[in-house]
C-alpha cells in the first residue's frame, strides 16, 4: 500500500499545477459546454425531486453536485444520462438535446453508478471485455486498452479474479476502469468513494485527478466535502431539488462563511459567557464560532478551561450552513 500511496501522491502533485494552469488559460465562454440545462425539472407523483435547475458544465472541468441524501443528486445524473425522462426544461449534451440519439451520446460517456453493478459471473478482465462489447468494440481492439486500464486502477495482478473475491475498494476501481473502456470524453460518477476506507478513497481521488488533468470532463455527486474540495473546479450545493449555491470551493467558502472557525467541545458549557463576538452554531456536543478575527477569541479561550480546535473554514462549514444541521435520512 505504501508504494501505491507514493504513486498516488505523485499523481496528485502532478495534477494540481496542471489544473491551475488550465483554469487560467481556459476561456469557457467560447467553447460550448459539455452539458447545459435550463429550467430542468423532474416530478415523481406530486413532488419535485429536481426543481428547475440551470447549469453549464465546461469541457475539461470537474463539476460536483453536493447535497444531503435525498437532495436530488442522483436524479439529476439520471436525467443527464437520459435514464429517466424529465418533467420539463431543456437539457443538452455535447450540443445535442438529450433525447436525440441517446446511444450516440452514451458512446461518449462513462458512468460509475452509486451501487457497483459488476457482472458477478465473470472475472475482472472479462468484465471489461464484455462491457466493451456493449459499445460494439471488438476484443482485439480493446485488449491493449484493458491492460492499460487495469494497470491504471492497480488491478493488473487481479485480472483473473472473480468479482465476489474483490474488496469494496477494488470493485469500485474496476467500476471506474469499466467506465473508461470506451475512452469517454465525460465521466459521470455517483458518489465514487462512499463506503470506502481512506486508502481506497485516496487512490481513487488520485486517479480522478489524473483523468481530469488529461482533459476528461468529470461530473460527480458526493456528500464528502473533502472529496469535493479536492477534486471539483466548480460545484453546486443542492437540497430539495434546488441549487443553494454555486461556485468554486474557494468562492463558496469566501462567500458564505467567515474565514476561520473555532470549535469548542464539551456541551457548550461556559460558551455563553464569552465576551468576544462571533457567529455561533451548535451541533452535537460542539459549539462553532465563526469569525474573521480569531485572535481575541483565542486569547479569551486560552484563559479559560475549555477544549477547542482552531482551523480555517472549509466547504463542510458552507454545506452545513446552507443545508442546515438537522439529521437527514
Amino acid at each position: 500500500m505504501a508504494r501505491a500511496d507514493a504513486t498516488l501522491c505523485a499523481a496528485r502533485l502532478r495534477a494540481q499545477p496542471d489544473r491551475r494552469a488550465q483554469l487560467l488559460t481556459q476561456t469557457p465562454a467560447t467553447s460550448e459546454p459539455v452539458v447545459s440545462a435550463r429550467a430542468l425539472h423532474k416530478r415523481y407523483g406530486g413532488q419535485s425531486v429536481v426543481d428547475h435547475i440551470d447549469f453549464d458544465i465546461p469541457r475539461g472541468r470537474c463539476f460536483g453536485f453536493l447535497g444531503p441524501n435525498g437532495a436530488g443528486k442522483t436524479t439529476t445524473l439520471r436525467l443527464l444520462l437520459g435514464l429517466t425522462p424529465a418533467s420539463g426544461g431543456e437539457l443538452r449534451m455535447f450540443g445535442e438535446a438529450v433525447t436525440d440519439n441517446l446511444p450516440a451520446l452514451r458512446a461518449r460517456i462513462g458512468v460509475v453508478p452509486q451501487a457497483d453493478n459488476l457482472d458477478p459471473d465473470f472475472t475482472v478482465a472479462e468484465n471489461l471485455e464484455i462491457y466493451a462489447a456493449y459499445f460494439g468494440l471488438r476484443r482485439a481492439q480493446v485488449a491493449p486498452r484493458i491492460d492499460a486500464l487495469l494497470a491504471f486502477v492497480g488491478l493488473a495482478e487481479r485480472r483473473g479474479a472473480r468479482i465476489p473475491t474483490l474488496s469494496g475498494g477494488m470493485q469500485r476501481r474496476l467500476t471506474i476502469a469499466r467506465a473508461l473502456i470506451n475512452e469517454p470524453e465525460l465521466v459521470v460518477l455517483d458518489e465514487p468513494t462512499t463506503g470506502l476506507d481512506p486508502q481506497a478513497r485516496h487512490l481513487i481521488w488520485g486517479r480522478l485527478a489524473e483523468l481530469r488533468a488529461r482533459g476528461t470532463t468529470l461530473i460527480l455527486t458526493s456528500h464528502y466535502m473533502e472529496e469535493a474540495e479536492r477534486l471539483c473546479d466548480e460545484l453546486v450545493i443542492m437540497d430539495a431539488g434546488r441549487f443553494l449555491a454555486q461556485g468554486s470551493p474557494a468562492q463558496l467558502i469566501a462567500r458564505h462563511v467567515e474565514p476561520e472557525v473555532i470549535e469548542i467541545r464539551g456541551n457548550g458549557a461556559g460558551v455563553d459567557e464569552l465576551r468576544t463576538p462571533c457567529r455561533v452554531e451548535r451541533m452535537g456536543t460542539s459549539v462553532y464560532c465563526y469569525t474573521a478575527e480569531p485572535a481575541p477569541l483565542l486569547e479569551e479561550l486560552a484563559s479559560r478551561d475549555l477544549t477547542f480546535v482552531h482551523r480555517r473554514s472549509g466547504l463542510e462549514d458552507v454545506f452545513l450552513k446552507l443545508t442546515g444541521r438537522e439529521l437527514r435520512d
Partner: protein
C-alpha cells in the same frame, strides 16, 4: 445554444417501436459465456430429464397405451415434450434468470449506461431464451432418436420450430418479468398459464379427445401450434397448415416482445 432545445420529455414514449440492432447479440453472447461456464450441470439436466421421461413414461405408460394417433406412444410423447420443454425452458430463463439480471444483479443498469437500450437487451434475452430452448429440444431429439422413436432426418426440421417456440414463450415471460414484484410472482404465470397449456395442448394426448368448447380455446394457445408442428416432423407424418402454426408462433413472439419492451422501459426508466 441559440435555438431552443426541445423539452427533454419530447419523444419519450415507452410504446415507441423498438429497433432490432446488432447490439442484442452482445447481450446474447454474455449469457452464452455464462452458460458455457456451467455447461456440465446444464447438459446433465437437458439430457437426464427427457431420458427419464421417455424411458419411464414412454416405455412404461406406452406399454399399456400402445399406439396413439397412429404412432408409438413414445414417439407421440417425445414429439410433445420437445415442444413443451421449449416452452418451459424459455419461460424459466425469461423469468427467473432475466429477473436476477435485472433486479438483484443490476446488470441492466450497467448495460443501460452503454449505447444499448431496453429493446436491445430484451431482443438479446429472447434470442438467448430461444437458444436454450434449442439446446433442450436438441437433447430430447437425440435421446428420442437413440431410443428409436424418431423416423428419419426430416425430424431435424423440428429444431427451427423449437427455436421459434422458444421466442414465442420468451416474450410472455419477459412481459411477466417486467411487472414482477419478486420471484414468487412467477408462480401465478406458471399455475395460470404454463401448467394448463402443458396439460391441454396435446403434449400427452391428442386434443381431439377434449370437449369441443375446450378444443376451440386450446387452439388459441401457442403450445398447441408448436406441438402441431413438432409432432409430424418427428414422427414423419405430413404437416398440416404449417403457415398457420408458424404465423401464430411468430405473432405471439412479436407482440409479446413489443409489450415487454414497453413495460420494461417504464420500469427501468422511471
Amino acid at each position: 445554444m441559440n435555438a431552443r432545445a426541445p423539452t427533454v420529455e419530447a419523444g419519450w414514449n415507452p410504446w415507441r417501436l423498438p429497433k432490432l440492432r446488432r447490439g442484442a447479440l452482445a447481450v446474447w453472447h454474455r449469457n452464452m459465456l455464462v452458460w458455457r461456464r456451467l455447461i456440465g450441470p446444464s447438459l446433465l439436466l437437458n439430457f437426464g430429464e427427457p431420458s427419464m421421461y421417455l424411458l419411464g413414461l414412454g416405455f412404461g405408460l406406452g406399454h399399456f397405451i400402445g399406439e396413439m394417433a397412429n404412432m408409438p406412444y413414445i414417439t407421440f410423447l417425445a414429439s410433445g415434450i420437445i415442444a413443451s420443454s421449449a416452452m418451459t425452458t424459455a419461460s424459466f430463463e425469461g423469468m427467473y434468470s432475466v429477473y436476477s439480471r435485472m433486479v438483484p444483479q443490476k446488470t441492466y443498469d450497467a448495460i443501460l449506461a452503454t449505447p444499448l437500450e431496453v429493446h436491445d437487451i430484451l431482443a438479446g434475452e429472447m434470442l438467448w431464451c430461444a437458444t436454450k430452448s434449442l439446446i433442450s429440444g436438441s437433447a430430447i431429439l437425440v435421446v428420442a432418436a437413440l431410443l428409436g422413436s424418431v423416423s428419419g432426418w426430416q425430424a431435424l426440421w423440428a429444431l427451427p420450430v423449437v427455436f421459434l417456440t422458444g421466442l414465442c414463450f420468451a416474450g410472455p415471460a419477459l412481459v411477466v418479468n417486467a411487472v414482477a414484484t419478486g420471484y414468487d410472482f412467477f408462480n401465478y404465470y406458471f399455475v395460470l398459464a404454463l401448467t394448463p397449456m402443458m396439460i391441454t395442448c396435446g403434449v400427452f394426448y391428442p386434443i381431439d379427445t377434449l370437449p369441443e368448447v375446450v378444443q376451440r380455446l386450446v387452439h388459441l394457445l401457442p403450445l398447441t401450434h408448436a406441438v402441431a408442428l413438432t409432432r409430424p416432423l418427428v414422427s414423419g407424418q405430413p404437416v398440416e397448415q404449417p403457415l398457420l402454426h408458424l404465423t401464430v408462433l411468430l405473432a405471439f413472439a412479436a407482440v409479446t416482445y413489443y409489450v415487454a419492451v414497453a413495460l420494461t422501459r417504464k420500469r427501468l426508466h422511471k
